[in-house]
Every structure is written in C-alpha cells, then in structure tokens.
Symmetry: C2
DNA sequence: TAATTTGGTTTATAAAATAAACTTCTTTAT
DNA sequence: ATAAAGAAGTTTATTTTATAAACCAAATTA
C-alpha cells in the first residue's frame, strides 16, 4: 500500500488536540484541556482514558486544596507516536 | 476554541487517501484507487459515494470495451475542502 | 458449460465518537 | 444550618462511522 496506516488512536480530532496541547504545554489540567479543546467533560474523560491506556499520556490525580485535580502529561511513547503520525500524515498531504 | 474543527468527511483514512490520489492524478479508475489504497471494494464504494454526495468528487460511469468503468475526479469544492483541511490540521501539528 | 475473475453494490456488524445523565464534594446564598 | 448551585469528573447510553461480508451481473478462462 502506498499510504501508511494512520494510528487510529491519534487520528481522532479530540485525542489529537489533547496530544497537541500536551506537546507544547508539557503538562495540563483537565479543566484547561477542556477549555482549550471545547470538549464536553464526558468526551474528554473517555478520550483521556484511551490515551492513558495506550501509555501515550500519564494521568496523575491529586488534590489542589480540597478539590480534585487531574494532570496529564505526554510520555515518550506518546511523543514517538505523535511524531510517527505526523510523518505518516504527510504522505497524504504532501501532494505534489 | 483554539483548534479548528476537522472536516469529518476528510478526516478519515480512506477518504483522505482517495482525495490525495485524486489531487495528484487528476482522474483515477476504481480498480486503481483500490490498488493504491489497499481498500476492499465494498469500503471503497461506500467512501466514494460519501465524497460524491458532498460534491467533493465526481463519479463518471462508462464502459471500457465491454467492462464497466468508474472514473473519479476531484471537484473545485473538493479541492477547496482538502486545502482547508490541510490548513486546519496544521494547527494541530505545528506544535512549537 | 462450468468455474473464476472483474467490477462493483448492498447490507450487516463492529467499533468509535459523542452526549446525556449521574456522582461526589465544595462553595455560596438564605 | 440548610438549600441551591458549581466544579470536576465518571459512567452509561445513543448515534455515527468504518469496515467487512455477502451478494450480483457480466465477462473471461479452463
């Protein structure tokens, strides 16, 4: 096949946005990701779980004062996957 | 929202591959697209229909000798959509 | 003439995305 | 002190999408 497969975990608008954020921001809290992506909390929760299950991100739960706080960070695996995804996408986009 | 929405019609591996082919090749026959994308005929047929329904491509059916022949071409609408999609994607990928 | 191949379409199933409903705890207002 | 509202998520249900399997008609090959 001339087109490489696109990692289905990354080929999703919301998950890609999450990863994109985590690459530039190093770490981000749930509400911040929610605000930046415009996603609903439910959708975001589900997609974060999927990324975490694949070890693309790490999720750390703690308390900020009395409130629960969920922090996400990208992993080396996730970074590699993102880079590979971008590379693969280029085969589709660099049409010349 | 800081991430633009990605046209769901294009944010699909197979449909994107089809569009990518049609941009470089101007026109392509069903079996050629099938071979280049590695898709099954059924899947390809469905996805071509969706692109045609949105007027992203035009499908022309004829006969080549005795055999049916399905030719696909991208439309100006499709080209515009593809360009917009690429532009939108860059917001996700150009992480710096 | 029977089996196989070509060129597809239609239908059914599996997987994914998304939203709606719910939970727990906190803060604010009465 | 208590009720209402808000924050921070999770769980579950629904819808959509992708994909494969089954099918069909005509042509070719054995």
């Amino acid at each position: 096949m001339m087109f490489p497969t696109l990692d289905p975990l990354l080929h999703s608008e919301l998950r890609l946005a999450i990863m994109s954020l985590l690459i530039s921001d190093v770490e981000a809290e749930f509400p911040y990701i929610k605000e930046q992506t415009g996603a609903t909390a439910g959708n975001l929760s589900v997609q974060i779980d999927k990324l975490a299950a694949a070890d693309y991100i790490k999720v750390e739960k703690s308390f900020k004062g009395k409130k629960p706080c969920t922090i996400c960070r990208i992993t080396p695996t996730g970074l590699k996957a993102f880079e590979d995804y971008v590379k693969a996408l280029k085969s589709y986009l660099d049409v010349k």
